[in-house]
């Protein structure tokens, strides 16, 4: 069952790289603000959509 060893090593390598990515994200202050990003995606420069502009006024204030 050598293959289990290989799969475990690969899975661990993946997990460690994910962990590194997580630490990077934290260190990079990616998660400092866990609210505005969710609003920001709604504020496209989107002329066709008037609703969006309404939202900008309502929610950002």
């Amino acid at each position: 069952m050598t293959v289990m060893l290989i799969l475990i090593v690969i899975s661990f390598t993946l997990a460690i790289s994910f962990l590194a990515a997580f630490l990077w994200a934290v260190k990079n202050n990616q998660y400092e603000d866990t609210f505005t990003p969710s609003l920001r995606i709604l504020m496209d420069n989107d002329k066709n959509n008037e609703e969006n502009n309404d939202l900008r006024i309502n929610q950002v204030n």
């Binding site: 293959v3 799969l7 496209d44």
Partner: protein, 717 residues
């Protein structure tokens, strides 16, 4: 404070850059999603009918169930959902990063490369060219093409992320990145195969090792192809469509990281009660159950985004599609861990329960989310309104009805058949010893299921009409203008010079490609080397296949017999009564690839050898209904006339020898001669049993040899 904001707004004005989003590539992927979606559903409806009307193959090998089913599954996953992912990523990534994609050319290469893969998949599967590993059936040249196109996609995505104008990486982007990384690894590891012709190869793994790699892949492909990229899409398109922020952004981040760390360990749950070591099976179960928490967190986060907006949902078909999609995600991710519990798995595995489960996922979660995104996106791209909201609402109800009409009968069929297989009479013998009885019992369910699939397809056709009309009434915006300030740390002020990019892009791109290629190269070198040594036989009586049997085995793979038959007798009394001795790990050491199967539409075949005489198989393959009246197995009459390609067996044996199968040195040279000798023997026996017109060189002889060999290496008690 006031001062600060003036200063920054001045800077803002000064640096504001104008740029254009590339909608052309999004349009291409959107069209491909729709076209391949319809194709995948059509093939699905066809197999749904063919499973109870075997005459639907019209006597043609190209249209037989075993070859069509892989087309359906691969089309649904890689063509429909695959293009859906790319459509969503190319649209949302540009907006989330406030930049155009890194390269239009890479985008085009990605698009046409992917469509080429799909087209070659359709052709090769019809022709019976397959590796025989579920959802990884594509042969080695196409596997290489997939790797190349996937790297092109990754390169384009990562470089876009690097040149973004928005510092924060929105949670959707994280989902995309994790999906890309994991799928790369899965594809490379599971596709390790040794080519022996331009279109054929053997898996370098054998038996239980192959099974483990395959289901580690299979499970994680569901996780990182059907789930995480679509979660990324959900976190972008659901808030956009509802025009409100996600319920809790914090929860979405927790959802992402916890899924990521738990998912990769759950794979062994596909192999419960098989010959896999117990501790690995338990690991799979534990991690599967842990998955419920993040999955449900994600579902609730999606649904609660719409809190207080249910009046909107009632009106808007797009939101309705999304609500059902997210609910289906929740249902499927609750059911999945349940099916990973041993006692439930003992009943559900190999039955239609699994089929119901995956269709809640693909029709509900992937299908409905894709439809929602398309209805939202197409009017945007063509700068118009949806042609008909009414029609979209009709599609929603028809689609929902289709899903219910599909999954309910499949649950009933699965539980019914599972219970019948296990039912003993008070005297302690199997109540339904004839497998066929358990099949005819559920045929009405198969018929209703086919209707359900058809209904779902009709709904999708309404969508096509609606979207085409929408596009016709609008005008396509190929390049969409936007403005943003650049992301500050991309710039380093150098003495007296103009600003420079934080990273030079070309070396970065090369570094990316080089790293991936070196990693893949390393894996290709190392893994087979370690494995070939480890395939040591543990049961002395287990011998390699004869050339004729090996030839027959490759036919078994070619005809997709594994789509209906398992080769894994589990250690239950109900199975050992029905199929005799349960399967042992050591019996599979020469099986490149393994053929354990995942569905028993027909009975398990691992102990088929010696059960019937040769002529039984001869006539059964010619037309199963002559031997087993009422059987739904397709007829394979062409096998009786098709000539074997006898010389090809040399290459097959040589490849097996490279993989460590202990044939005597130089055996590949004499293999064709041995094949003929054994074929002659079987042909003589057939004649003795009263079969006239037997051709010694007909393929059927090889298949019979293989079937008669199955499971005979160890003597039953």
């Amino acid at each position: 404070m006031a001062e600060h904001s003036t200063a920054s707004s001045n800077e803002y004005q000064a640096n504001l850059e104008t740029f254009y989003y590339d909608n052309g590539i999004v349009k291409l992927f959107a069209m491909a999603t729709v076209v391949w979606g319809i194709a995948a559903f059509l093939y699905g409806v066809y197999v749904a009918f063919a499973i109870f009307m075997p005459q639907l193959n019209f006597g043609s090998e190209f249209l037989t169930f075993g070859r069509i089913r892989p087309i359906h599954t691969n089309a649904a996953i890689f063509a429909f959902v695959g293009n859906g992912i790319f459509m969503g990523v190319y649209y949302s990534l540009q907006r989330l990063c406030k930049t155009r994609m890194f390269s239009d050319m890479l985008g085009k290469l990605h698009f046409w490369g992917w469509q080429l893969i799909i087209a070659s998949a359709a052709i090769t599967f019809h022709a019976g060219i397959t590796t025989g590993k579920e959802y990884a059936e594509l042969e080695w040249p196409i596997d290489i093409l997939i790797a190349i196109v996937w790297i092109i996609f990754g390169l384009n995505m990562f470089m876009t992320i690097l040149k973004r104008r928005e510092r924060h990486l929105y949670v959707a982007i994280w989902f995309y990145i994790a999906s890309w990384v994991t799928i790369t690894v899965l594809h490379v590891v599971n596709s390790m195969e040794l080519p022996y012709t331009w279109l054929h190869s053997y898996s370098v793994y054998a038996g239980v090792q192959d099974a483990l790699v395959q289901w580690w892949y299979g499970h994680n492909a569901v996780a990182f192809f059907l789930t995480t990229p679509y979660l990324g899409l959900m976190y972008y398109f659901l808030p956009k469509a509802a025009n409100r922020p996600v319920y809790s952004y914090k929860l979405s981040i927790i959802h992402f990281w916890s899924l990521l760390f738990i998912y990769i360990w759950a794979g062994p749950h596909h192999l419960l009660y098989t010959s896999l070591p117990d501790w690995a099976q338990s690991l799979g179960t534990v991690f599967s159950i842990m998955l419920i928490a993040p999955s449900w967190g994600g579902m609730l986060n999606g649904l609660l985004t719409l809190r207080g907006a249910w009046d909107k949902v009632r009106e808007d078909p797009i939101l309705k599609f999304m609500v059902v999609a997210v609910t289906a995600y929740g249902m499927a991710t609750l059911e999945g861990p349940m099916l990973a519990v041993k006692s439930i798995n003992a009943l559900s595995h190999y039955t239609d329960w699994t089929i119901a489960h995956v269709h809640v996922g693909v029709l509900g979660w992937n299908g409905f989310l894709t439809f929602g995104v398309l209805y939202w996106l197409i009017p945007k791209l063509w700068n118009t309104k949806l042609y008909s909201k009414k029609l979209a609402n009709a599609h929603f109800w028809i689609g929902t009805l289709g899903i219910l009409t599909y999954v309910i009968p499949m649950y009933i069929a699965g539980v019914t058949q599972g219970l019948m297989w296990k039912q003993f009479t008070p005297e302690g013998v199997l109540q339904y010893p004839n497998f066929l009885e358990t099949v005819t019992q559920i045929l009405p369910m198969y018929m209703i299921r086919a209707t359900g699939g058809t209904i779902y397809l009709v709904g999708a056709c309404l969508m096509v009409y609606n979207l085409v009309k929408t596009a016709k009434q609008g005008s396509f915006v190929k390049n969409e203008k936007d403005q943003a300030t650049p992301f500050p740390f991309q710039y380093i002020k150098e003495t007296g010079e103009r600003q420079h990019r934080w990273l030079e892009r070309k070396p970065m791109a090369m570094l990316f490609v080089a790293t991936i290629v070196i990693a893949i190269g390393g894996a290709v070198e190392i893994i087979p080397m370690i494995l070939i040594k480890s395939n040591v036989p543990t049961i002395a009586s287990v011998k390699p296949y004869t050339p004729l049997e090996l030839y027959g085995r490759d036919m078994y793979i070619r005809e997709g017999c594994y789509t209906c038959h398992s080769q894994m007798v589990r250690p239950f009394r109900s199975e050992t009564e029905r199929y005799r001795e349960y399967s042992k790990v050591g019996e599979f050491v020469y099986d490149h690839p393994f053929q354990w199967g995942s569905k028993r539409t027909g009975p398990d075949l691992h102990r088929e050898g010696g059960k019937y005489n040769n002529s039984w198989h001869y006539w059964h393959m010619n037309n199963p209904r002559d031997i087993s009246p009422g059987s739904i197995m397709p007829a394979f009459p062409w096998l009786l006339t098709k000539e074997m390609d006898i010389q090809s067996v040399s290459a097959k044996i040589a490849a097996m020898m490279t993989l460590g199968v202990p044939y005597p040195v130089g055996y590949d040279k004499v293999a064709p001669q041995d094949l003929k000798t054994q074929a002659k023997l079987i042909a003589t026996q057939l004649v003795a049993e009263g079969v006239t017109d037997v051709k010694e060189s007909a393929e059927i002889i090889a298949l019979i040899a293989y079937l008669q060999r199955l499971g005979t290496d160890i003597k039953a008690k």
